[in-house]
Point group: C2
Chain length 407, copies 2
């Protein structure tokens, strides 16, 4: 699992002291992760937040990724290094230089940096830089889980995923995390994120690795196609972060050049799994809401309607209260520019068509909403396109967590 599932990668996760020490004085939680691509290939692609207010590490890493080569990724939790001005950018630069210095033969220009945590606070470089040395000393082919743990902020669990292709069943069953058999290749990854999830990416840091032997352009194509229908369609609370980063690194260590479609599907599967884990761990949420818009005239219409439903606070409260309030679905649809006629709209909640032709449908008392997953189906009756958006309910716990975050 995680970023060391694919051959050619080592990783580490340590407590550098960026997060506050624990109450018993025994040092803080893990807060610094290092992922190293040991090659032979150093190809990479990245997708970043579309927020125009970008954190320093995003500005830095976007530049690094233009070269299509990444030898290492350093990630910290405990501070976003966003809205920290020129000095914050210098901190990111110094971090990359430190990684290059402690890893023989690396160049800072090929070191990606990612940060997550509070906005508007400088990172404690006196703790972060020594942490880089410690992380480098602890690099391991089994370090993927520790790296995934070190990037957590308010996440309740760490998130990893893996797909392995082309390994004989016996080998795959026997060695699930490290396919050594000929012909096999793997896409693995880790993610952090537990709120502030929104289109154009969630507040999330994601590092994917593969031992497939592909150039940067092919990685870029597969990654963009995958994020478009996975991370980009996760909308926990409509808020977009300054730090979102998704990286895909290829080592080529399997020696296999997969078909483009097969590789794309593997990347999409890992992204989809991680995106689903993000929704499942969203701050304060008690429900995961799967919104499927069908019968749309275009995919854009389906996505617009799905997002409008996903962001309707009144509906999110109703779902929290296990109230199949389809009127709020209709009023959310009504704010969009999608093609539809109001008197032809149909809405199902957990497969009960509570709204038919824009009016009362099946008995709402038939809807069973006791379980965490709630499925809303909105039929626009205007075409054959569809899209799925994932969202969360709105709860008092969400308010509590986010009203006390920085104070």
């Amino acid at each position: 699992m995680s970023v060391t599932a694919a051959k050619g990668f080592t990783a580490a996760g340590i407590a550098a002291g960026i997060k506050a020490p624990l109450a018993n004085g025994s040092g803080g939680n893990p807060d610094l992760a290092l992922v190293v691509n040991n090659g032979p290939r150093l190809a990479a692609a990245g997708v970043f937040t579309s927020n125009r207010v970008k954190a320093a590490p995003v500005v830095w890493s976007e530049q690094v990724l233009k070269g299509g080569r990444v030898s290492a990724v350093i990630l910290n939790s405990g501070g976003a290094n966003a809205c920290t001005g020129p000095l914050g950018f210098q901190d990111t630069h110094a971090t990359a230089e430190k990684v290059a210095e402690v890893l023989d033969g690396h160049s800072a220009g090929e070191v990606a940096v990612a940060s997550t945590g509070l906005i508007g606070i400088r990172l404690p470089m006196d703790k972060l830089l020594p942490g880089v040395e410690q992380a480098a000393a602890e690099l391991s082919e089994h370090g993927g889980e520790k790296a995934a743990i070190a990037i957590k902020t308010t996440d309740s669990v760490h998130k990893t995923s893996q797909v392995t292709v082309g390994v004989p069943p016996a080998a795959a069953g026997g060695t699930p995390t490290r396919p050594e058999a000929g012909g096999g290749w793997t896409v693995g990854g880790m993610a952090k994120g537990a709120g502030m999830l929104a289109p154009g990416l969630a507040t999330m840091l994601v590092v994917l690795t593969t031992d497939a032997d592909l150039p940067a352009a092919d990685l870029d194509t597969a990654l963009r196609a995958a994020t478009r229908t996975t991370f980009d369609r996760v909308d926990s609370d409509g808020c977009m972060s300054t730090n979102d980063t998704v990286l895909l690194l290829a080592s080529g260590a399997s020696g296999v050049v997969p078909e483009a479609a097969v590789f794309a599907e593997a990347v999409r599967t890992v992204c989809d799994d991680l995106a689903r884990q993000l929704i499942g761990d969203a701050e304060g949420a008690s429900k995961d809401i799967r919104i499927e818009v069908v019968g749309a005239a275009s995919e854009d219409d389906a996505v617009e309607v799905g997002r409008s439903i996903a962001r309707n606070n009144l509906l999110k409260c109703a779902i929290h209260g296990e109230d199949p309030n389809w009127g709020r679905v209709l009023s959310a649809i009504g704010t969009t520019s999608a093609v539809f006629e109001p008197d032809q709209l149909n809405v199902a909640i957990n497969d009960v068509w509570v709204c038919k032709n824009g009016s009362v449908g099946e008995d709402r008392d038939l809807v069973d909403m006791r379980y965490r997953e709630v499925r809303i189906t909105a039929d626009l009756a205007a075409g054959t396109e569809s899209a799925v958006i994932w969202a969360n309910d709105l709860t008092a716990d969400y308010v509590h967590e986010n009203s006390a975050y920085s104070s």
Copy 2:
């Protein structure tokens, strides 16, 4: 005050039994209001929800207003008559016919109808129609307050406002609600709304009346100009209703034809006062947030940025927690297409410039957020345009009220 402040109007508010009876069996709360224009003029203008899923009374009243004449408005709480199909529209039609029948010389085609309450439920016409008779019997020049009370849903208070122009000071002081002195004219009004407030109008019903002597076209110009910068810039929770209705009726009973600019300002003042009352009574809110965007390249930019800030759930939670979290303001600004440079943005919270040039500014501990009104100033440093948007914080009470609304 209210809709009977201007000469030429009578009103009533009664309990027709549309709302559930009280626990002691003594009948329900007031739920039916009637406002009648006794002329001599019957000019009117209206602004309605921009939601494409419109309640039956909105569809009806939009048609009525095309004629520019309204002799009476019948309003009910206890049911929105939205998403009720063709039968729901018949109910609205029957209500207007009943009003015309019980008021001598009225035509159903000049009777506007407005409803508010739950979506997707038919109105109890066996109670509503007899209620129309009762309301007509109770019409009074002093009925404005009762009418304002009858349109409440989750409102904690009823909302009215009044501006009187051109009355000698002594007369104005002595008779604030009914200017009889020569040359005086009045704009008065009532509003309901306590949540679901959003651009393109709040879930609100508003009836404004004036005894100024103006034709429908002049009323329309003044009303659209007023709503654009008042009700349209109230954004309690980002949700847009299916039932929003704002009507302005002129009786001409003062015999005064005011200057266009003076009349427009009077209408704007009443709308602004009512809009501010809506925000102050929003469901579950503990803070009223005044978001002023300055230094914008255009008014559209200022409004787009203001709305983005107003709708950021994470920021709304932070304000609830009295946390001057300017990073969330910046990340909300960053999602817009407005003209700005991230490293030139400035943000003040309650006049303390906690963010300067996109980075840390004055000490956030200087911000005092104990009071209900919180002022956020966002300076885009890109021009000279500005706009003000009003919003509310996001609270556990909001979640509680809206997760149990229909169940």
